[in-house]
Every structure is written in structure tokens, then in C-alpha cells.
Symmetry: C2
Subunit: 153 residues, 2 copies
Amino acid sequence: MVHPDEIYRRLERFPRLCREAGLKVTPQRSAVYAMLAATDSHPTPEAIHQAVRRELPNLSLATVYKVLDQFLDHGLVLKVSKPEQAARYDARVDGHHHLVCESCGRIGDIVIEPLNDALSQIPVAEGFQVRRVEVVLQGLCSECAAEAQARQA
Amino acid sequence: MVHPDEIYRRLERFPRLCREAGLKVTPQRSAVYAMLAATDSHPTPEAIHQAVRRELPNLSLATVYKVLDQFLDHGLVLKVSKPEQAARYDARVDGHHHLVCESCGRIGDIVIEPLNDALSQIPVAEGFQVRRVEVVLQGLCSECAAEAQARQA
DNA sequence: TTAGATGCAAATCTTTTGCAGTGCG
DNA sequence: CGCACTGCAAAAGATTTGCATCTAA
């Protein structure tokens, strides 16, 4: 769960980030961002839509997609790659990585310092300009691993 | 482009890999694997289908999807995460990473030793069992970077 | 005032599924 | 010969688009 102070910091900088990105601060954008800022569950556009709808009943799923795309373009959110179907988003944008459970689909955060160190000194290969790096660890979360073990025994 | 010797090695071990995986060696599977083994272009299921169809005109796209899924399950291929739409596959399964061009969508391979070193000593976080690690470097390939620069000047 | 945003519905694209028929081992 | 595999067509999801209508700056 996200620390209240961190949520506060995210919400506080939101208007500035929008201005810098040339995006208008609309109720829809604020609500989508606020929802994302308060969770570390890496929700899908669909889940975000469901949640935000409680406040803005007219919010359309298409708008959620558009807003998320814009946020992504301007670095306000991250999009987590998906060995599965629906995209996942994250308001945390500092150097961290993702644990994706192949069984239940849950996505967790992890910070691996040596990995960050290695990533920061990546040689620029053959003129390729690296803009973002994504590291996804796929496997089984502790619950699913325990379950698999139990089933086997 | 893939070295002929490497293509040969891949094709040679294919029947054994199938047997070990409990998969029958069908013409469809052989053709799909052969196509993938001979390229490093990380083709989509659609592209694979188009290519293999020249030999097996009746091959259905659904079968391509099924076959790729099975190959993936048994480690014969990798699936590259997609900040875009369609999935991409790769018959190269040793420790390497991917460069994804945000402009043209091309996917290249890269080996970064220090990164492999860091990955090999990942602490098993909170009981999470890591089975695969995927590293994707997003940015601009040399051509697109040059183009962007030219457009700006 | 007006460029940019939203909502809706339809379109598009990717992937999955059910099932009858086929073929590998 | 039996069970796994394939092809087809239809379904299911996810995401995008066109356009008329609003609204933040």
C-alpha cells in the first residue's frame, strides 16, 4: 500500500506536471490520476474506469484510455508490459521493477539496487538511444508458490 | 541476421525439444519453428502465419497462436513484451535483452554482460519465485534517431 | 473565445474457443 | 488405433476512432 505522504506528493505535483505537458487539468484527468496515485495494485484501464466511475458516473472507458496514453507519453505514469492481456498502469515512476505472478496475475514492485546500478551504465549500443528500461520478473508469488507446493504434495 | 550455423543448431534440436515437451512433431510446428529459427526480426503471429503459409497454404492463424503458446510454455521460444499491440516471438532463448524502437517498432537484440551478472544474483524477494526475467530497453533505433534529428534541424 | 477534451457508439485488432475431422506415434 | 493436433468460424477482449458536444484556460 502506498504511503499517505507519497500519495500527497503525487497529487500535489499533478497540476504542475499537466501544465508542463501542455495538458488541461480536467476532472477526468484528476480523478484518473488520483486513483492511480493512491494504489500500488497496477490496475488495468477497465479497473481504473470502474473505480473512478463512482465519482464521475459519466466517465467513459475510451477517455480513460486516452488519458492514460497521454500520461504515459509525458511520463506521469508507467505502463507495465503484460505477458497476459490487459495493460497495467503505475503512478510510481522512480527506478523500480515488477514482479508478475504467472498464476494469479498480481503485479508487485521491487527495487534491486545492483540492477539499477547495472542499468545506469548501459552502453549505448550501436546508436540506439535508450529512453526507458523495463525489467519484468515473471514467476510465482509467495501465495501461489505455496499453493502449487501444496497441490503437489 | 542469424548465423547459418545457429539456424542449423536450432533446427537440429527441435525434434528432441518437442519430444521432451511431449509435443508431436507436426508439419505445422516444424514450419513455424523453422521460420522463427531463421530470423531475428521478432515477428508477430500474423507475420509468421503469412510467411509459413507460402509452404503450408492451409495453415490457420489459430494454429499459429496455439503452437506459439505451446512453444512458449516449454521454453522453445521467447515472447517479447509489447508496449504496442501484437505479440512478438523469438527463437533465441539464451540470456539477451531487447531494444524496442518507439518510432518504427523494430526490435533488436542486445547482450549486456553486467546486466546478466546483476540478474543472476537477484535476491529472491519475499518468497517470490523468479522463473524468467525480461529486460526491454525502449528508445529510438539509430535510423529513427537520425531521422528525428534531421527533422528538427 | 477556442483549442483541446469528453462521451458515445461503432470499428478494428488481437487472441481465444468449440468442435468436427485428421494424422502422428 | 487413440489421443493429440489442426482448421474453420465464431466469440471474446482490448484498444482505437470519428464525430458532435462541451469546457478549461
